[in-house]
């Protein structure tokens, strides 16, 4: 008994030691492995695909299929690298006997060993992966001059073409056959009647490391079902290729199952503003990750448990406005995503997430990027600014929005916000903090219909607080830096109640729709100490020192540009123009000078208020001269340009 007791203690001590060492290595290494098997060639070679920063020559694996262990010494194989992926061919063809071709199911357990110490376990059931309907590139094990891939054909009369993807589709030469296989597709234009897997080899031009495959049916159309798919079973789905969906209204990937993780592995799903990249409606525990979604829509509706992270949502001018939807969802986390809108010239791009009727939603660590590919002008931004935004609609509850950042290529004109719709029902229990979204034009961080909402430690551009279809009640707004801060008496709205705004750095405040001296009827219990508002500043340079209309004829209107550079922290600009009579052989009344700004007529000496936003820009407006029937000759006079701010009835300043 004593001997047995000693042995038991030794064994126990030994296991504890091993486990402690193993546990220390698990988090760093196993989490990055993300191993999976590729069944592109179930009748030939199975590929083990994983990620690792380790020297794979020291890695061993144990693949267990249906209880049968197959030791894999990875150092015995030549790995093929695809970006961060490591592909290991497993030539144990007996494994394919466990692959069910009818159900596309393969149950396995994968144990990884590092330096012959157990450090990572991975197991799973690899069931029907519809994404693999699309032919995959399964090469690099030939050499770097040729690529091979296989296709699965179910007897349809499909033709195929091979393209190298280098940003554009470029046709390459078909090389002929697959010399090592008995089943060879020698006529690549007709697969009629051929059922099963076929292997094709083609030339990979020097310098290209990726390939795309396009099928065409007998009519020449591309059957997108080969690239798109329905997901009908739970599981982890890896997208192994880029997708371009050019069919109006088509949903490319439709998730029809609970418990689906859709991992694009960095690949792009590209489409159009009138079709959908990924759609799920009525299924729970849906995850979208590592995807680049370009110019097409993600739509997840009626779900419990939604995770959207690590994606890039991209819209350029070709896509225009792209609106994604997360609707009627509970337990939503949207994080580590990039929303990117790139406008080319005056062709606007917008990428927007509409989050509607959600409960327990957390939006954090997202990056909003907007920029214009051409030279920026004030007019470009006011009319066609790129926009990246998240807008809440309808009834949102328990919303946490934090640590999101908006950047742009043009200071002070960022167009990225996370805001609430003014036309919606109501929102409650909102915590909004540590966000950097200095939007100053086009878009506004709206606090509307908000009940029990707390904003703090944010840097924001435009902030509008107003009551919409329901009241805005109990809003705490403190320790924020705000450029333009607008309190709106919403004409058809209800009350702003219990607003506590304090300790904010606010550059300007505007009361909109206020009649001077008359305050909103329903504006109750508002605490807004104004001691922290910055002093107004106004810097103006009139770049045009003189305007010579040159030779003009009576009865005509001539235009010459006048350019003014304005920099100010105010939004309520006026420009007044006054002119002395033009003295000459006779007199041209100053009323015959005409000017417009932004289509607004300027008359003398009356003024206008053409701007409602902060501005830091060069403003060019046409100064017009109408010549009445006066005696010919040379006339001269002076035009006085006055810019004022912080003074009008409608745009009061605190």
């Amino acid at each position: 008994m004593k001997k047995a007791g000693i042995s038991l203690g030794f064994l126990l001590f030994f296991f504890l030691l091993v486990v402690r060492v193993g546990l220390a290595a698990i988090p760093e290494w196993c989490d990055n492995l993300n191993p999976m098997l590729d069944f592109t060639h179930p009748d030939e070679i199975i590929y083990l695909v994983f990620y690792s920063n380790e020297n794979i020559s020291t890695v061993f694996g144990e693949l267990i299929v249906d209880g049968i262990s197959n030791q894999i010494n990875i150092s015995n194989f030549t790995p093929y690298y695809r970006g961060e992926q490591i592909w290991i061919p497993i030539y144990n063809t007996s494994l394919v006997n466990y692959y069910d071709n009818s159900t596309h199911t393969f149950n396995y357990t994968l144990n990884f060993y590092n330096n012959q110490s157990a450090v990572c376990l991975y197991s799973g059931s690899f069931q029907d992966n519809p994404l693999y309907k699309t032919p995959l590139i399964s090469s690099y094990w030939l050499n770097q001059t040729h690529v091979g891939f296989s296709i699965e054909n179910e007897g349809e009369n499909y033709m195929w073409e091979v393209y190298i993807l280098d940003g554009n589709w470029m046709e390459v030469q078909y090389i002929s056959d697959w010399t090592t296989e008995s089943e060879v597709v020698t006529n690549h234009t007709d697969l009629s009647g051929m059922v099963g897997y076929y292997h094709i080899k083609t030339l990979l031009p020097t310098g290209y490391d990726s390939i795309g495959i396009v099928y065409r049916d007998e009519t020449g159309d591309i059957p997108y079902d080969f690239m798109c798919a329905n997901i009908t079973s739970p599981g982890i789905y890896y997208l192994m290729y880029d997708v371009y969906n050019d069919v109006s209204g088509k949903v490319c990937f439709r998730i029809l199952s609970d418990d689906v993780i859709f991992n694009c592995l960095g690949h792009t799903i590209e489409g159009r503003s009138d079709n959908t990249g990924i759609k799920s409606e009525g299924y729970n525990n849906i995850t979208i990750t590592n995807c680049t979604i370009k110019n097409t829509i993600i739509d997840i509706t009626n779900a419990h448990g939604v995770r959207v992270y690590g994606n890039v949502f991209y819209s350029d001018s070709a896509g225009g406005t792209i609106t994604h939807y997360l609707s009627n969802a509970i337990d939503v986390k949207f994080y580590n995503n990039t929303l990117k809108a790139v406008t080319s010239g005056s062709a606007r791009a917008e990428v927007c997430f509409s989050i509607d009727d959600t409960n327990n939603t957390e939006i954090y660590n997202n990056l909003f990027i907007t920029y214009n590919t051409t030279a920026i002008t004030n007019a470009t931004y006011t009319g066609n600014s790129p926009i990246a935004d998240i807008i809440f609609h309808y009834h949102g509850r328990n919303l946490s929005i934090h640590d999101n950042i908006g950047i742009t290529d043009y200071p002070n004109l960022t167009t990225a916000v996370i805001s609430f719709s003014g036309n919606s029902e109501w929102f409650e229990n909102v915590e909004y903090y540590n966000n950097y979204l200095p939007t100053t034009i086009t878009l506004t961080n709206q606090i509307v219909n908000c009940h029990n909402c707390t904003y703090y430690n944010n840097t924001l551009g435009n902030v509008w607080i107003f009551s919409g279809s329901s009241s805005t009640d109990t809003v705490y707004f403190y320790n924020n830096t705000v450029t333009n801060y607008k309190i709106i008496d919403y004409p058809a709205g209800s009350c702003i109640k219990n607003l506590y705004a304090y300790n904010n750095t606010v550059e300007s405040v505007i009361y909109d729709n206020f009649v001077f001296g008359i305050f909103p009827i329903c504006f109750e219990n508002v605490y807004m100490p104004q001691t922290d508002i910055l002093e107004p500043y106004l810097e103006v340079t009139i770049n045009t020192s003189s305007v010579d209309f040159g030779s003009v004829n009576v009865g005509t209107l001539s235009n010459k540009d006048v350019t003014i550079t304005i920099s100010s922290n105010r939004m309520d600009y006026k420009i007044e123009l006054d002119a002395t009579d033009l003295v000459g052989p006779s007199v041209i009344p100053k009323s015959n000078l005409n000017a417009t700004i932004g289509g607004v007529d300027l008359s003398f000496p009356s003024d206008i208020t053409p701007f409602k936003e902060e501005i830091t820009a060069a403003l060019t407006f046409p100064l017009g001269l109408y010549v009445p029937d006066v005696v010919a000759g040379t006339y001269t006079g002076n035009l006085t340009i006055t810019i004022l701010t912080g003074m009008s009835d409608n745009y009061a300043q605190i």
């Binding site: 045009t544 010579d548 004829n553 041209i588 035009l639 300043q653």
Partner: protein, 160 residues
């Protein structure tokens, strides 16, 4: 407005007293207005009818005091009027006189026309002008053989 509203809006009223910020500068504006002159003749013939030789009384053209010989003028510049005749009169002992007047009932200053151009009128406008000017003709007839005589008169308006 109830008391509650007054209490909560008071701080805002105080704040609204901020003085506006303004900037002002002057730009020189200039223009060179071009001239125009439009003249339309409303007649092309003057017929003195039958006249007596040797007269020195300056036969007036018929009805010139009623304004039948006139021109329409539209201009924003001063101008001169000059005229000459082709010699059909002066070479045959007839002398033609022409005057310009703003009122047909008041004679202008008559100038005899030769075969060389003579300035017979200079305007002095201070504003653009659009209106009618009247031409007045008189004729001296020497002791010349009876018969029909004719000549061509050229009248030129020139912007100054």
């Amino acid at each position: 407005m109830n008391v509650k509203h007054l209490l909560f809006t008071l701080p805002i009223i105080i704040g609204l007293l901020t003085i506006p910020v303004a900037y002002s500068d002057t730009v020189t504006v200039s223009a060179d207005v071009q001239s125009y002159l439009t003249v339309t003749f409303n007649y092309n013939t003057v017929d003195f009818g039958t006249v007596v030789t040797g007269s020195t009384g300056n036969h007036p053209s018929p009805d010139y005091t009623t304004g039948v010989y006139n021109v329409s003028i539209d201009t924003n510049t001063n101008y001169t009027v000059s005229a000459y005749e082709s010699g059909g009169f002066v070479n045959n002992g007839l002398t033609l006189y022409l005057a310009v007047s703003s009122d047909p009932s008041i004679d202008g200053t008559f100038y005899s026309l030769g075969t060389s151009s003579t300035t017979i009128y200079t305007s002095s406008l201070t504003t653009a002008f659009e209106g009618t000017e009247y031409h007045q003709y008189k004729l001296d007839v020497g002791d010349i053989p009876a018969g029909s005589y004719s000549t061509t008169v050229t009248i030129t308006y020139s912007a100054v």
